[in-house]
């Protein structure tokens, strides 16, 4: 926590208001608005090309918005660098690069400073603590490029968190991970969110791995966003409105599938438009692939 007593209404960390981004004349994001509070875990869900990476880059200050405002802890674009931690999508680190996990985490602490890093007991202790917090002690002295995908994600998360940002952005951190590493990374993120009081915004094309830890959801489709808790957003009526075509939200056990309803095929029967977002009665034959290809 950041020293303040846990208030009933935690501090607002991110506010996005009426954000519009056009790239090359094409609208990428339209009228996106949402807020995030301290210690909150928000999933940024959408298919490939829905605008997730663009939204993260605008929040980071790397992509200027066409209109609208983005404030991180009340700060506008220029003063944002130290407040936001970022784990980019798939960085392919070179195995020949002489850079240990502990070096990369250390660069998270002071990578933007000039001059040589002088060895100090304090710096080493901070790095060791951060490596322990993400469960990376075992490979702290290995070259980062030689680590597995899940191990690299842990090191990246430590790199992003060690400077104690208020907001942590992760771009598709679960892509290319096997199921076991996926669950490891999700529970690690849930844990650091609570322990450090940081607000986490994580993009993913599949919301299911995030359901156990996700407080709120920003669902992107066609550049527009629906925001709220999972139960408020992931509903047949809300998402059909967002997609501009009928989609079905199907809950099977503890998984949620969003299925295009107008596929014209026999696979999904057309249900009534205002079907409740509950367990589906008709035989849905849920094809897990459809959940990932929900774009109209």
């Amino acid at each position: 926590m950041t020293g303040q007593p846990p208030a009933a209404d935690p501090a607002e960390v991110l506010s996005v208001e009426d954000l519009n981004v056009r790239l090359g004349g094409r609208p990428i994001l339209q009228d996106v608005s949402f807020t995030m509070r301290e210690g909150e875990f928000t999933g940024l869900i959408g298919a490939n090309g829905a605008g997730k990476t663009t939204l993260l880059k605008v929040i980071l200050g790397l992509q200027p918005p066409t209109s609208g405002t983005v404030r991180v802890a009340g700060q506008s674009r220029t003063r944002r660098a130290g407040l936001v931690g970022y784990v980019p999508q798939k960085i392919g680190l070179d195995p020949d690069m002489p850079l240990r996990a502990r070096d990369l985490v250390g660069l998270g602490l002071d990578g933007q400073r000039l001059g040589l890093p002088l060895p100090s007991a304090r710096r080493r202790k901070l790095v060791d603590e951060m490596l322990a917090a993400v469960g990376a002690e075992r490979f702290a002295d290995s070259r980062v490029g030689n680590l597995s995908g899940g191990e690299q994600q842990r090191v990246m998360i430590a790199h992003a968190l060690i400077s104690r940002p208020r907001l942590l952005l992760l771009d598709e951190p679960l892509a290319n991970l096997d199921i076991a590493s996926e669950q490891d990374v999700v529970s690690l993120l849930g844990q650091v969110t609570r322990e450090q009081g940081v607000a986490v915004l994580i993009s993913a094309h599949d919301m299911n791995p995030l359901l156990p830890v996700m407080d709120r959801i920003v669902y992107l489709a066609g550049g527009r966003a629906a925001t709220g808790t999972t139960d408020e957003v992931v509903r047949t009526d809300v998402l059909s409105d967002l997609y501009g075509q009928h989609v079905d939200v199907i809950r099977v056990h503890d998984r949620i599938l969003v299925v295009a309803g107008q596929s014209g095929g026999t696979r999904v029967p057309p249900p009534s438009a205002d079907a409740p977002a509950g367990p589906c009665e008709d035989e849905p034959q849920p094809d897990p692939h459809l959940a990932e290809s929900a774009s109209p």
Partner: protein, 288 residues
């Protein structure tokens, strides 16, 4: 014992003024090349470094026409070329080889013209040999302060920018997210490489200077997983190759074919290759 030592180090080796200048200048340049070269290798800019060396031929040969030390020409043209390469698009991975190749071609063309004038107008073939293959034994002691200045500049750039440079070399996106100007860092690093190449072009020749930039650095990166230590190794290997090369070149005066000695650049470059081949391959941990 003394006899054996004299077989290895000829009497008079350290008393010889050109040898002393060669050891000082060569050692300094090797340290700078090892450290700056490590960043060139880390950033995948070996080809850019090679091209800057080729291009500097134009500057070196122009210096002969102007009657100044080739070092000024090497450095001036190298830094200029680094700027042009950045403008054309060396910062983008795909544009990098194109930009480098285009500038390299133009630079070599100019070099050919100036070298032709050097040989026809001043009727000396020495200029060509000096520029292409170096002149470690003919460095005048008055040039050593200039060498020291350029070394301090190149080394200063990479040491002051050490952390942002390391981070943007490892993962440019992580650096950009921290508010580091990856483009500015890239240009400054390229300028440091150009200065370094101009120094090694002076000592072991424009054609061979890349060997000193890349070879010890590549060897150092195999020896350790610590970035700083890898650079120290690169510097030490470069100094060892240069000093041993100077020693062997001095000894080779008595070797066949005829009492002229072998070129020092040959020894330096060969020793760099030997060190690289002797270094162990880094152990790769198999993921999972």
């Amino acid at each position: 014992m003394t006899h054996l030592l004299h077989l290895i180090i000829e009497p008079g080796f350290f008393g010889n003024a050109p040898v002393r200048s060669a050891l000082v200048a060569g050692g300094l340049v090797a340290v700078v090349s090892g450290i700056v070269g490590s960043f060139a290798v880390l950033r995948g800019q070996s080809y850019a470094g090679h091209a800057l060396a080729d291009i500097s031929v134009a500057g070196g040969s122009a210096s002969f026409l102007a009657g100044v030390s080739p070092l000024w020409g090497f450095a001036g043209v190298g830094v200029l070329a680094a700027g042009v390469m950045d403008m054309i698009g060396v910062q983008r991975p795909r544009g990098r080889d194109l930009a480098t190749g285009i500038v390299r071609g133009a630079g070599l063309g100019l070099g050919a013209l100036f070298l032709y004038w050097d040989t026809t107008h001043t009727s000396t073939t020495g200029a060509t040999i000096t520029i292409l293959f170096g002149s470690l034994f003919t460095i005048s002691s008055s040039l050593i302060p200039v060498i020291a200045l350029f070394s301090a500049l190149a080394l200063g750039i990479v040491l002051v920018l050490y952390r942002p440079l390391l981070l943007s070399s490892a993962a440019a996106e992580l650096a950009a997210a921290r508010g580091i100007s990856v483009r500015l860092i890239g240009v400054l690093c390229l300028i440091a490489i150009a200065l370094t190449v101009s120094l090694s072009a002076l000592t072991i020749g424009a054609i061979l200077s890349t060997a000193l930039l890349i070879g010890p650095a590549a060897t150092g990166l195999r020896l350790t997983s610590r970035p700083g230590l890898a650079m120290v190794w690169a510097a030490l290997i470069g100094v060892a190759a240069t000093w041993l090369g100077v020693l062997l070149a001095y000894d080779s005066y008595y070797w066949p074919p005829g009492r002229h000695g072998w070129p020092v650049s040959f020894f330096v470059v060969t020793l760099i290759l030997v060190f690289y081949l002797l270094s162990p391959r880094p152990v790769r941990r198999v993921p999972g």
